[in-house]
Symmetry: C2
Subunit: 252 residues, 2 copies
């Protein structure tokens, strides 16, 4: 609105890794000050994405990895029949684009869920730095590994949990990640639509809508469109578990 806001924004955008609040969540975690400056030099560009803007799409040539600085994104794949599957929602500090390492081109899409700011790490330069800074190399591997582990959780959720358990697990995971960002973990402001949540969980939107209503009736949540307050974290935690004896699916 007023010009000062824009100026502040630009200042924020130009801040270096060493002064970034996300430092401990991002690639720099555990990197010494000297090496941090070298990494900082590779961060080419800190750009803004409007809601709905595409960061990369399936087929795009691989140029860079991206760090979410503020806002949030979704990544998704589409198959030949046009079906879409959301892979993850990405909050500040998370790095995306690893899918493109395998074939030198992206095989998924990344789209902003709200106005978001992004750090771009051109890969050739990043490779240069990681080859000189072993700690950074290890850290980069750890970050990719985190993505693998996170996808394991997603698969477990989709394969073995009932709809209500899935939504409860999803909300708890969001809550945890909010807390890590020093935000209130009980007052969620969902940047994704009900459609996105449903798709992420392998459900349809009506089911998700009904589950939100049901959890509100149960006194677990207070739901007001995008704003969700967790009233009873204990009950929510209870909703995440399947009674293993009752389901063959569970035993394996």
């Amino acid at each position: 609105m007023e010009p000062t806001a824009t100026v502040l924004d630009l200042n924020q955008l130009r801040r270096s890794c060493s002064s970034c609040a996300l430092q401990e969540l991002c690639l720099p975690a555990g990197i010494g000050a000297d090496d941090l400056n070298r990494l900082d030099a590779t961060v080419k560009d800190k750009r803004m994405l409007d809601r709905g803007a595409v960061l990369y799409r399936d087929g795009d040539k691989f140029n860079a990895l991206y760090v979410v600085r503020s806002g949030s994104l979704k990544t998704f794949v589409q198959n030949e029949s046009g079906n879409m599957q959301i892979l993850a929602f990405h909050l500040p500090g998370e790095i995306i684009g690893f899918d493109a390492l395998a074939s030198n081109q992206h095989v998924s899409h990344a789209e902003a869920l709200e106005r978001s700011s992004i750090c771009e790490l051109p890969y050739t330069q990043l490779q240069q730095v990681t080859s000189e800074v072993p700690a950074l190399h290890r850290q980069l591997m750890r970050v990719i590994s985190r993505e693998v582990v996170e996808e394991h959780r997603h698969l477990m959720m989709m394969g073995r949990q009932q709809a209500q358990e899935q939504l409860a697990t999803f909300l708890r995971s969001l809550s945890d990640r909010y807390q890590r960002l020093q935000r209130d973990g009980t007052a969620l402001n969902l940047s994704m639509s009900r459609y996105d949540i449903a798709n992420y969980l392998g459900l349809v939107v009506e089911t998700v809508s009904r589950l939100f209503s049901r959890m509100e009736e149960m006194g677990v949540l207070e739901v007001n469109r995008k704003s969700v307050r967790i009233l009873r974290p204990d009950l929510l935690a209870g909703l995440c578990r399947t009674d293993v004896a009752s389901k063959q699916k569970g035993v394996g």
Copy 2:
């Protein structure tokens, strides 16, 4: 059986990366002869696993990555309520253990589906080599990225496909991987049980069993316990797609 067989086996086990038939599918892909020898030196041990033997389990300290040399393994996660979700089946040339990079300990289990031979890559030594051989470093990143992409496919399958489409997709994917191993892609010898297949797909064993029967009736497959022949690859391919217009799940 006869002693010569054992001797041959041991010889096979002791073969180096440079003479390994899996070279092009494995970490060495695209690595020069000199560097290959250096990699070869880090391959500590080529051990055998019997059917059901555990290579690593959740909580194990991270020591090494592992390459499947022959046979096959499954990897799976278990949650606090004891539910199990199979993440993948691993054929020769595939590298497993990346889940442990994030936290320095494994967060999944790996178990042999049949008698299998494994190459062990102790990670500290591997790191040494990759830091000296940039091409190997890049290749290692590509291999992890392949795992990420493969998990995307798994998520798409679980989230957006019907049971029959899932099984068809699974069989086609197995067939493709057999072909890459220079085997007949139409005569599959399933090393995993129906329970494993069901679990992998997020279904129950009865559903999988019925689907095999149905596909046999349709003339797509010829099923005889573990041995599955794909009679009509064209039909099988057709069974993989969802009609997108008919399903809200598909649109997103």
